[in-house]
Structures are given as structure tokens and as C-alpha cells.
């Protein structure tokens, strides 16, 4: 679409090329191109005996910016927010300096391809996984920004959704760095481009709509009327209509809230609730108390065992004294 030949040519390298970092001296062998975006090209590369994804860009600023985001994600324990970072460095391609970073290679089809192959039954699972991840990301003070099916890879088996491109990831409260029109609430006239959790949740709703319209569609009248009309016209979307519309309006304050509402909506199809979040959250303590019951049972067993062992030892000691 865009004519940005100069940028692409600069970081275009052939398979087999060896990229050597200027600072850390790591060597990567390019295997093939994985994809290209507004800010560079991503390659699959061999590094020692592992496969890594290598993002190269002549725009060092955007590389640095993305590395900052990935570093901050790395501090979140046990997270699957974005790929993990392996290395950052510069290299020289045809005597020009190009910045790059190496990250975990997340293999798998993108969201829409996966659903196309495995069936629409997977939509719910994957969206619930995505909402959990988004909740964690929002808690850490970030907004993903450029959320779209191309940036969502389904790993597995077992299938697990992962976000791959953090180019649009923005600190909450700032202006969204990068976005794609179809998933952007500003484009549809339904909100600002300030980085808020509701911005990402709007994009999730648009991804749901996208599953029924894989080719997307253009803005005609725009606004909520056009989107609602498109939801109504697509049969598979009707069961989520309430959830989608709530997210489009920005009614969910958190990804967790949207997740609960979606679960509830699935368990009681046909009942269109405005916000069943409170009822949903009431379920949580029950689960928790069940867990702690398990714990209590285990604790009791432990205590009796310890008491028995100690008394046996004591008895042996006493017999020893007597003898």
C-alpha cells in the first residue's frame, strides 16, 4: 500500500546472510523473512542452536522504543506479554548502520488463519486468553495499542494466543503510538486516541467482528450505527452482541470485567445482560474458598503425620532410657 521502498531496501537481507552485532558480537544466520511492518522487517534466524526472530530497522529510535517495552515486560513474572527479548545490537548492512533486536521466535499461524483452519469454536477460548493477558498488561501501566489479528499468533499445541508486535505499546495516559484504522476507536468516531484500557478493549471487540468479516470493511456512516448493523448481519456474532457493543462503547473499565461478562454470556446464551460483572465476580470467592479447603485438608494431614513421627521417636528414646 505505502511506497516506502527506501526503508525496506535498507534492511533487506538474503537468506544465509550472517548478521554480526557491533557491540555484543553475537552472530545470527538469516533463515527467511517472517514479515514486514511500518517500522522494519522481521526475520527468522539461527542463533547457536536456537531459532530466534530478528527485527531490523534503519530507524534506531523505534527499535530502542520497542526494546524498552520488551524489557519492562520481562520484569513481569511468568508473563506471556509479548516475546521475550534476547539481544539488542547494531549491525552494518551494505555499509549502513541498522539497529536490530533478537527475540523469542513465536511459531504458529496468526489468529484468523488459525480460526479458519480449526473452526470458530476456538474464538471464545482465544479471546478469553487474550483478555487475561491484556488485563496483566494494563495492570503494569501499559496499553497494547496496535491490537489486530496479524499481531496475534496462536502457539501450540495446546493453543495459546500471544501478542507479537509491541510497536504500538504505549504508557497509559499518553497518545497511542501506532494503530491500524479498522481496530482504532478514533477512526470510527467512538473515542480518543489516548492510551487507556478501554482503547484495547475496543480493538478486541473489532477483532471479534473481524472473525465474521475476514476482509474487514470500510467506514461508510461510521459510528456505532454502522458497527451494530454489521454485527446484526453476521449470525455467528449475535451471541456476543451484548459484549461487543459494551466494549465498543467503552463500558468495560478493565479487561477482567469484559472477560467475566464474556464467560457469563457464554454460559447463559440468549440472556443479554448489560453488566453482569458483579455476579461474575461473586463466583471468584467460591473458587478461592474451595482452594483453601484443599489447603486446609492437606494441612491437617501434615500435622498428624508430624505428631505421630515425633511421638514414635520419643517412645524409642524413652525405651532406650529404660533399657
Amino acid at each position: 500500500m505505502m511506497m516506502n521502498s527506501s526503508l525496506k531496501n535498507l534492511c533487506k537481507v538474503q537468506p544465509g546472510t550472517i548478521i554480526e552485532g557491533k557491540w555484543h558480537k553475537n552472530r545470527y544466520t538469516i533463515i527467511k523473512e517472517l514479515g514486514s511492518g511500518a517500522n522494519g522487517i522481521v526475520y527468522l534466524a539461527q542463533f547457536h542452536n536456537q531459532r530466534v526472530a530478528l527485527k531490523m530497522s534503519d530507524n534506531g529510535m523505534s527499535i530502542t522504543s520497542e526494546v524498552n517495552v520488551l524489557k519492562s515486560f520481562a520484569k513481569v513474572q511468568g508473563s506471556s506479554l509479548g516475546p521475550s527479548l534476547i539481544d539488542v545490537d547494531d549491525c552494518s548492512v551494505r555499509r549502513q548502520t541498522v539497529s536490530f533486536y533478537a527475540m523469542e521466535y513465536i511459531a504458529g499461524p496468526d489468529l484468523l488463519t488459525f480460526i479458519n483452519q480449526k473452526g470458530t469454536g476456538w474464538i471464545e477460548v482465544l479471546m478469553l486468553q487474550l483478555l487475561s493477558d491484556l488485563h496483566m498488561l494494563h495492570e503494569k501501566g501499559w496499553v497494547f495499542g496496535d491490537l489486530k489479528p496479524e499481531n496475534l499468533i496462536v502457539m501450540g499445541p495446546p493453543p495459546r494466543i500471544r501478542c507479537i508486535d509491541v510497536g504500538g505499546t504505549t504508557i497509559q495516559g499518553r497518545a497511542i503510538k501506532e494503530f491500524t484504522e479498522f481496530y482504532d476507536r478514533g477512526y470510527w468516531g467512538l473515542g480518543t486516541r489516548k492510551a487507556e484500557p478501554t482503547y484495547d478493549l475496543f480493538a478486541v471487540a473489532m477483532i471479534l467482528i473481524n472473525t465474521a468479516y475476514p476482509k474487514r470493511f470500510n467506514k461508510s456512516t461510521g459510528g456505532i450505527t454502522q458497527l451494530q448493523e454489521m454485527i446484526r448481519r453476521a449470525k455467528p456474532l449475535q451471541k456476543y452482541e451484548a459484549v461487543i457493543v459494551n466494549a465498543l462503547h467503552g463500558r468495560y473499565q478493565s479487561a477482567k470485567e469484559m472477560r467475566y461478562d464474556m464467560i457469563r454470556n457464554l454460559n447463559e446464551p440468549g440472556k443479554h445482560t448489560q453488566s453482569s460483572y458483579r455476579k461474575g465476580s461473586a463466583k471468584q470467592p467460591i473458587q478461592k474458598s474451595r482452594q483453601s479447603q484443599h489447603k486446609r485438608k492437606g494441612g491437617w494431614l501434615e500435622t498428624t503425620l508430624i505428631v505421630m513421627v515425633i511421638s514414635i521417636l520419643y517412645m524409642i528414646y524413652i525405651y532406650g532410657q529404660i533399657g
Binding site: D90, I171, E181, G186, R193, A195
Partner: protein
């Protein structure tokens, strides 16, 4: 660190200038005065001819800005991207200048190891969020642009939406060329919101010559006029660019 106000001219055109001064020279003049010139070339199905392409790249290069040639459909996204990119470029220049003062050499951000670059980038990001920005939009309204104008209007509304999500202040002005009587005509005076374009744009008449060079000169003068008016009221920190350029 206070970078003052970022000043940009955003030129939206679909072809070659054919009247008045050389636009590439005028862009260089703007750069000398601390105003960045960005150019967006709008294509239809057909592609822009080589000469037009050369001019677009030339103006942006000598104006210290960013250029991009796009189809009309992807104009919105491009306008905001080009503006943001140019802002970051300018701010990076400001930060580099600061770095050189601290490190006392010709070091720039690229000469730092990647680990330290991250911290500098955070400073640039923060400046980009908070800095004051003035964008003067120059729209080519020669005959061939006629059916692209509604898209241009959409793109400009979209730009104000993107930039107004920032914490920093924005001021936009809109000029069209050729004007009814003169080379250039003021369409919209400095304003933080571009919504009023919705009512003005449909009334625009198109046609005539393409005086890109004189349009840039006029736009530049407009920045100065604004500054001198302001300096009567208060002496603010806008002297920065004279030092840095």
C-alpha cells in the same frame, strides 16, 4: 530540558510546482529558521511521475522533514505517522545536542551502546508527549486534487484527533494554494481543533497553477508573524531554534 515549540509545515500535494520560487530552496529557508517541512504526495490509481517524486523528496530533505507518497485511501494514517516521525526526529536532534554538551564530543544517540540508548529514548518519548506543537498545513488545490479533497479533510481531522491525545498543546493552521486571488490563501487561523474544517472544505474551489514555492514562503512568514505578536505579550522560550540550527 525545554525544547520550546516544535514548528512544522505539512505540505499535501499531488504533483509538480510550476510557478514562482523553487520549493526546495524555500524548504531549506524554512529549516534555517527552525521550521521543519514534511511532504505527503497523494496518488490516485496512477503513480506520481518521476519529476514529482523527486521534488517531494527534495523538499522534505532540504526542509529537514519526512516525505511519503501514498494512495488517497491511506492518507489519514500517513498524515499522522509523518507528523509524529518528524516530531521525534526534531526532538532527537534536540536531545543529541544536549548529549554533545554533556559528553563534550560529537557523540549522538547512535554512538551510545544499546543499553544506554533506552534511557535517552525515554526522554525523547516524554518530550514528544509534552512538547508544544504548531503545524501549518499547506493543501494543494490545483485541478487534479479536486476529488481528493474530501479525503484530505478526513485526514486532517484525524490528525487533530491523534495529536490532541497528547498532553502537550497543539496549534493548527490551514493554507490552500493557489488561492482565489493570490498564490496562497489562509483557510484557517491558528486553532487547537480542526473541526471547523468540516464546514469550510466543501466550499473550496480548485484549479489553476501550482505555486508550491511561494506557498512555503508565505507559510513561513505566518509563523514569524505569530511569533512577533506573541513576543509583544510575553517573552517565552521560543529562542531555542535559533541556537540549535
Amino acid at each position: 530540558m525545554n525544547p520550546g515549540t516544535l514548528k512544522q509545515i505539512l505540505l499535501i500535494t499531488d504533483g509538480c510546482s510550476n510557478q514562482g520560487e523553487d520549493p526546495v530552496a524555500m524548504a531549506a529557508l524554512a529549516k534555517e529558521q527552525g521550521v521543519t517541512v514534511n511532504v505527503i504526495g497523494v496518488m490516485e490509481q496512477d503513480t506520481i511521475d518521476e519529476q514529482g517524486m523527486k521534488e517531494i523528496e527534495g523538499i522534505a530533505m532540504s526542509g529537514g522533514g519526512v516525505s511519503q507518497v501514498v494512495y488517497a485511501q491511506s492518507l489519514s494514517q500517513t498524515v499522522q505517522m509523518v507528523t509524529r516521525k518528524a516530531m521525534t526526529q526534531t526532538l532527537q536532534g534536540v536531545v543529541n545536542k544536549e548529549l554533545q554538551q554533556i559528553l563534550g564530543s560529537t557523540k549522538t544517540m547512535e554512538d551510545l551502546p544499546p543499553e544506554q540508548r533506552g534511557e535517552v529514548m525515554e526522554v525523547v518519548d516524554e518530550l514528544g508527549e509534552n512538547v508544544k506543537l504548531e503545524v501549518l498545513v499547506l493543501v494543494d488545490t490545483s485541478a487534479s486534487m479536486k476529488h481528493k479533497l474530501p479525503t484530505v479533510k478526513e485526514a486532517l481531522l484525524d490528525l487533530s484527533l491523534s495529536l490532541n491525545a497528547r498532553a502537550g498543546n497543539n496549534q493548527f493552521g490551514v493554507f490552500v494554494f493557489p488561492g482565489k486571488k493570490k498564490d496562497v490563501e489562509k483557510l484557517l487561523d491558528w486553532t487547537p481543533q480542526l473541526e471547523s474544517l468540516t464546514s469550510i472544505f466543501p466550499k473550496l474551489s480548485t484549479g489553476g497553477i501550482t505555486p508550491t514555492g511561494p506557498a512555503i514562503r508565505e507559510a513561513l512568514a505566518y509563523f514569524k508573524k505569530k511569533r512577533s505578536l506573541r513576543s509583544l505579550l510575553s517573552r517565552d522560550d521560543e529562542q531555542f531554534f535559533e541556537e540549535s540550527m
